[in-house]
């Protein structure tokens, strides 16, 4: 592996000052399941690795029924799905944490790392988008917040500027009669990269027959994960029916701009957007109806 220096930062200001000083050649280390591979394969020129795992704020995993979840940027997948309140409140996020890699990857990989790596196929990002999550970013000029759907700008690129780091992800408290779902298509049963991924969240009325609002997000069909805004809006106020779900699925297909590669053709991916959007919506609806 290329030579680099390693620093374990203990506070946010310390990490930010280091990032600011070292510039482009410094990278944050969370679980390292993307970064170490990228440095080893010389896909990133890194001279400084700043380990943030000793910083208290990035290890936060605080759920409150009124204010929602603060998910520290370095919290590993296994800690997220071990938390009953999070499993209950944000099942779509749990779906993703259980399929990112295998057991050993989930022991290290953070959802914050998944987000900052900004892969178009990242499984963690569509659930965050449908859950209305916000990124809390620290930098030399203080903190700022960015909605998750605006965080990734291109493959491997984010809105983070020099000196900035992700501190945590804030997710609002789940509304009553709401749920979420994420799934992906892969040729294997596990340990693979999404050909397409789709997430959905729904809020139903008290009869559980009508959709109050919905959010749909897609992975691996564009340079960044996408919020399917138009498709989501179509469902607001609609009675639950196959026709309504199909309409949303078609609207989701309309924004897909997939490429053809070894994992699938553009045509297959567009088709899959329709199939997976329907399944994600129906899955989220079923979870609301089954909840006690």
């Amino acid at each position: 592996m290329r030579d680099f220096s390693y620093i374990a930062a203990n506070t946010i200001p310390e990490a930010v000052a280091l990032l600011d000083e070292k510039g482009e050649n410094a990278r944050i280390l969370a679980g390292g399941t993307d970064l170490i591979v990228q440095v080893r394969e010389a896909r990133r020129d890194v001279n400084w690795i700043i380990d943030i795992k000793s910083i208290p704020e990035v290890n936060a995993l605080d759920y409150n029924a009124d204010t929602g979840l603060v998910l520290g940027a370095a919290v590993e997948c296994y800690k997220i799905y071990a938390d009953d309140a999070i499993c209950k409140g944000y099942p779509g996020l749990i779906d993703a944490t259980k399929i990112i890699g295998g057991t050993a990857i989930q022991g290290r990989a953070a959802v914050g790392g998944n987000l900052c790596n900004a892969s178009p196929a990242a499984d963690g990002i569509p659930p965050l988008i449908v859950l209305n999550a916000t990124c809390v970013i620290a930098g030399p000029n203080g903190e700022r917040e960015v909605p998750v759907e605006q965080f990734c700008t291109a493959p491997g690129q984010t809105v983070l500027k020099n000196g900035e780091m992700l501190v945590s992800i804030k997710i609002p408290a789940p509304e009553s009669n709401s749920s979420s779902f994420y799934l992906r298509f892969i040729p294997r049963n596990e340990m693979d990269i999404a050909v397409v991924g789709a997430g959905a969240s729904v809020v139903l009325d008290d009869t559980k027959q009508t959709i109050v609002s919905a959010r749909i997000a897609l992975a691996a069909v564009a340079p960044t994960p996408l919020f399917a805004e138009e498709a989501s809006a179509r469902l607001a106020g609609r009675e639950i029916s196959d026709a309504a779900i199909d309409e949303a699925a078609e609207a989701a297909k309309a924004i897909a701009r997939p490429i053809s590669d070894m994992r699938g053709t553009a045509e297959q991916r567009t088709h899959l957007v329709g199939v997976l959007t329907r399944r994600a919506l129906n899955g989220a609806i079923q979870r609301v109806r089954e909840a006690t």
Binding site: M1, F4, Y6, G32, G102, T103
Partner: protein, 156 residues
Amino acid sequence: MARRSHVQTTINGETVEFLCEPRQSLLEVLRDELHLTGAKEGCNNGNCGACSVILDGRLVNSCLVLGVETEGKSVETIEGLAAPDKLHPIQDAFLENAALQCGICTPGFIMSAKALLDQNPNPTEHEVRYWLAGNLCRCTGYDKIVRAVLDAAAAE
């Protein structure tokens, strides 16, 4: 070259000190500096599980951990499993079930199985298969490995 760092960690219950460069993975430290060659390098990118070890109670791929990250932590490797005169029940079960052929994947599978049984002493076959999905074997066809883990669970 970045300065070699001094790291103190616990390996298989013993306090160990070593010097390593930041770019050396835990796998490289174990094998090249500490001569614990049980953990194997297959892919060096997190896909094969041959390098699996337990870090602070969690299964990890040691090829995706930096040696310097283990300061103050506890590492369990395959070398720590058997007692001087007795194999660990998972090791016995692997032998009984002929769950290995060339053996290069075996230390990783056994550490992965240990991490599973430590937290779930009675897994279903389904749970075993999912848990071991990050460990690849090119020889056995997996079935004997799954049987061995289920037998070890029953024996423990």
